[in-house]
C-alpha cells in the first residue's frame, strides 16, 4: 500500500516536473508508431488491392474438339486432382463465336458466312484466389498444356507476370522498410528514455543514497515508460486515422480508387500495436534503469 502510494506520487511528480521532455518522448513514440503503422496500413491495402486486381485472372485452354459431358467430367477431375481451382467453364465453338461477335460490335454481320465451328472450343479455368502466385499459375498452365486435346493455354502471361513482379517487389519493399522502421522505432524509444533517465541521474543517485529500494526507484520510471508507450501509440494511430480519412476524402474519386476500396487497420491489429508499443517502452525503460542503477 505504502509502496504504491509512494510510486504513484513519484510518477505524478515526474510527469509534472519534466513535462517538456515527457512531451518530446511522447512525440517521438507517436511518430515511430505513426510511421510504422502507416507502412503496415499501406501493405495491407496493397495486398487486398492486389487480390482484387487479380480477381478476373483466368486461363483459357483451347481444345482440339469439343468434349462431351463425360469427357468434361474427366477433365474437371484431372484438373482438380492436380490443384483445387475455383471454376471450370467449357466454351463451345458457338459460344466462342458469339463472344467474338460481341467483341466485333457493329461488324458482327461479317461473321454470318463463317461456319459455326470456325473458332476452336475452349475451357476457362479460374484459379483459387489464394493460389495466385506467378509460379503456381504457370505451373497450372504447364499442367493444363499436358492434358490430352489441349492446343494452347493462354492467360495474358505478360500482364500476369508484370502484375506479380509488381506485387513481389512491393512485398520486398514492405518487408525491408518494415524491418528498418521497427528498428528505428525501437532505437528511438530506448534512446529517448535513456536520455530522459540521464536527465534524472542525479535524482536516481540520491534516491539510492537515501536508501530507496530498487523497486521504489524503478517502478515509477517503468510505469512512465509504459504510459508513454500507451499514449504515444494511441496518438500515433489516431493521427494515422485522421490521415487516412483525409486521403479517402481527397483522392477517392470514383474513377481512381474504386478497385482500391481502402480499409483501416482492424481492432485486434490496433490493440496489438498499442500493446507492443507499451511492452517495448517498458522494456526500454527497464534496460535504461538497469544501466543507471549500476552506477
Amino acid at each position: 500500500m505504502n509502496f504504491w502510494l509512494a510510486v504513484f506520487r513519484q510518477l505524478g511528480r515526474n510527469l509534472r516536473q519534466t513535462w517538456t521532455s515527457q512531451l518530446m518522448t511522447l512525440i517521438t513514440v507517436s511518430l515511430s508508431v505513426l510511421i510504422f503503422s502507416f507502412f503496415y496500413l499501406i501493405y495491407c491495402n496493397m495486398l487486398s488491392a492486389g487480390g482484387r486486381l487479380g480477381n478476373d485472372l483466368r486461363l483459357i485452354v483451347y481444345l482440339e474438339e469439343e468434349p462431351g459431358p463425360e469427357m468434361q467430367e474427366q477433365l474437371r477431375r484431372r484438373i482438380t486432382d492436380f490443384e483445387r481451382v475455383e471454376k471450370i467453364r467449357f466454351i463451345s465453338p458457338e459460344q466462342a463465336l458469339d463472344l467474338f461477335a460481341g467483341q466485333l460490335g457493329q461488324n458482327r454481320d461479317l461473321l454470318t458466312d463463317v461456319p459455326s465451328d470456325f473458332l476452336p472450343p475452349s475451357m476457362e479455368v479460374t484459379p483459387l484466389k489464394n493460389l495466385r502466385g506467378l509460379h503456381q499459375v504457370s505451373l497450372l498452365a504447364d499442367f493444363l498444356d499436358t492434358l490430352p486435346g489441349t492446343i494452347k493455354v493462354q492467360y495474358g502471361q505478360e500482364w500476369v507476370e508484370r502484375f506479380y513482379a509488381f506485387t513481389r517487389l512491393l512485398s520486398i519493399i514492405v518487408l525491408l522498410s518494415g524491418t528498418l522502421l521497427v528498428l528505428t522505432a525501437t532505437f528511438m524509444v530506448s534512446y529517448t528514455i535513456r536520455l530522459t533517465i540521464l536527465g534524472r541521474e542525479d535524482e536516481i543517485e540520491l534516491l539510492r543514497l537515501v536508501g530507496a529500494t530498487n523497486g521504489y526507484i524503478r517502478t515509477p520510471f517503468l510505469l512512465e515508460g509504459v504510459l508513454q508507450g500507451c499514449m504515444g501509440s494511441a496518438l500515433g494511430l489516431g493521427s494515422l486515422y485522421l490521415l487516412f480519412q483525409w486521403t479517402l476524402n481527397h483522392f477517392s474519386g470514383p474513377s481512381i480508387l474504386n478497385i482500391f476500396s481502402l480499409t483501416f487497420l482492424s481492432l485486434p491489429i490496433l490493440a496489438i500495436i498499442i500493446g507492443t508499443a507499451m511492452a517495448l517502452c517498458g522494456i526500454a525503460s527497464h534496460i535504461s534503469m538497469r544501466r543507471a542503477l549500476r552506477i
Binding site: A6, E205, L209, V210, G211, T213, Y216
Partner: protein
C-alpha cells in the same frame, strides 16, 4: 528510533574498520591501513588537510564506495557484503551530509529534505511537520518552496544537513558542515547536531574548521596522507549512552 527494525541486540560498536585501504586507480592512494573503532553514541571529529581522504573515509562507511582492502562493519553488518534490499535498509539508518550537497536543484527545498523520509514510507503529516521544524531551526523557513538551485551556497549547505538528519538516523556522517557558513549560523548548525547526539545518534564530522573542533571534549582524529592519527583522545561522557536512548 527509525521505522526500519534494528537488529535485536544492538551492538556496542557502531563502526569498526580494520586495515582498510582505498586506491583510486591508476595512481591515487586515498586511504591506507586505517583501523578505527567508533562506539555507539560517540561524537567524533575527523580533520585533515585538503585531499587527505576525509570524504573517502565517510563514503566507505556509507557504502558509497567499496574499499580496496580491509573490513568495514557498521552496526554489526559487513557492509561490503550488503546488496539490494538490505543495503537500502542499512542506508536508511545512516544520514550523510555530502560535501558537494547532492541537492536536486530543480526541486523545492521541502522536497529535497522530504525525500529521505518518503523513501522510508513515513507518513505525509509527519514528514510535513519534521521538514517545517528543521527549516525553522536552520533559519530557512521562508525558503520552503524555493527551488534548491536558487539558494545561496550557505543555504544549500544547511538544506543538505537538514536532509541528513531528517529521517532520524542512528549514524550521522557530516562532511564539512560549515564551509559556507558564517560564525552565527555555524553555532546554530552545531547546536542542531549536538541535540541529535544527545538523542543517541552517533556522529562523525569531517571538518577543517578549527573553531568547531578545537577545545571540544570529543575525540579528534587527523588524517594525513591517507593515514590516521589521534589528535585528541577525547573525554566524552556521552559515549555508550546511545543504547539507553
Amino acid at each position: 528510533m527509525t521505522e526500519t527494525t534494528a537488529p535485536a541486540t544492538l551492538p556496542m560498536t557502531m563502526v569498526e574498520m580494520i586495515k582498510v585501504a582505498k586506491d583510486y586507480p591508476p595512481k591515487v592512494t586515498a586511504l591506507s591501513d586505517i583501523s578505527l573503532s567508533i562506539p555507539r553514541g560517540e561524537f567524533l571529529f575527523l580533520i585533515g588537510m585538503s585531499g587527505a581522504g576525509k570524504t573517502t573515509l565517510l563514503k566507505l562507511i556509507a557504502a558509497m564506495e567499496q574499499p580496496t582492502r580491509g573490513l568495514i562493519e557498521v552496526a554489526g553488518c559487513d557492509i561490503t557484503k550488503l546488496k539490494g534490499r538490505s543495503l537500502a535498509l542499512q542506508r536508511r539508518r545512516i544520514g550523510m551530509a555530502y560535501q558537494d550537497f547532492k541537492l536536486l536543484t530543480e526541486q523545492t527545498v521541502a522536497y529535497n529534505i522530504a525525500i529521505a523520509m518518503e523513501v522510508a514510507y513515513r507518513k505525509p503529516q509527519e514528514i510535513h511537520t519534521t521538514v517545517r521544524d528543521l527549516l525553522e531551526q536552520l533559519q530557512l523557513a521562508d525558503k520552503h518552496d524555493t527551488p534548491a538551485g536558487e539558494l545561496s551556497r550557505g543555504e544549500q549547505q544547511r538544506v543538505t544537513l537538514a536532509r541528513a538528519v531528517a529521517n532520524d538516523p542512528e549514524l550521522l556522517l557530516i562532511d564539512e558542515p560549515t564551509g559556507n557558513l558564517d560564525t552565527t549560523t555555524t553555532v546554530r548548525v552545531m547546536e542542531l547536531l549536538r541535540r541529535r547526539h544527545t538523542a543517541g545518534a552517533t556522529l562523525i564530522i569531517a571538518t577543517h574548521d578549527p573553531a568547531i573542533y578545537q577545545g571540544s571534549p570529543h575525540r579528534t582524529l587527523e588524517l594525513h596522507r591517507g593515514r590516521l592519527h589521534t589528535l585528541n583522545p577525547g573525554t566524552d561522557p556521552q559515549i555508550g549512552k546511545g543504547e539507553q536512548a
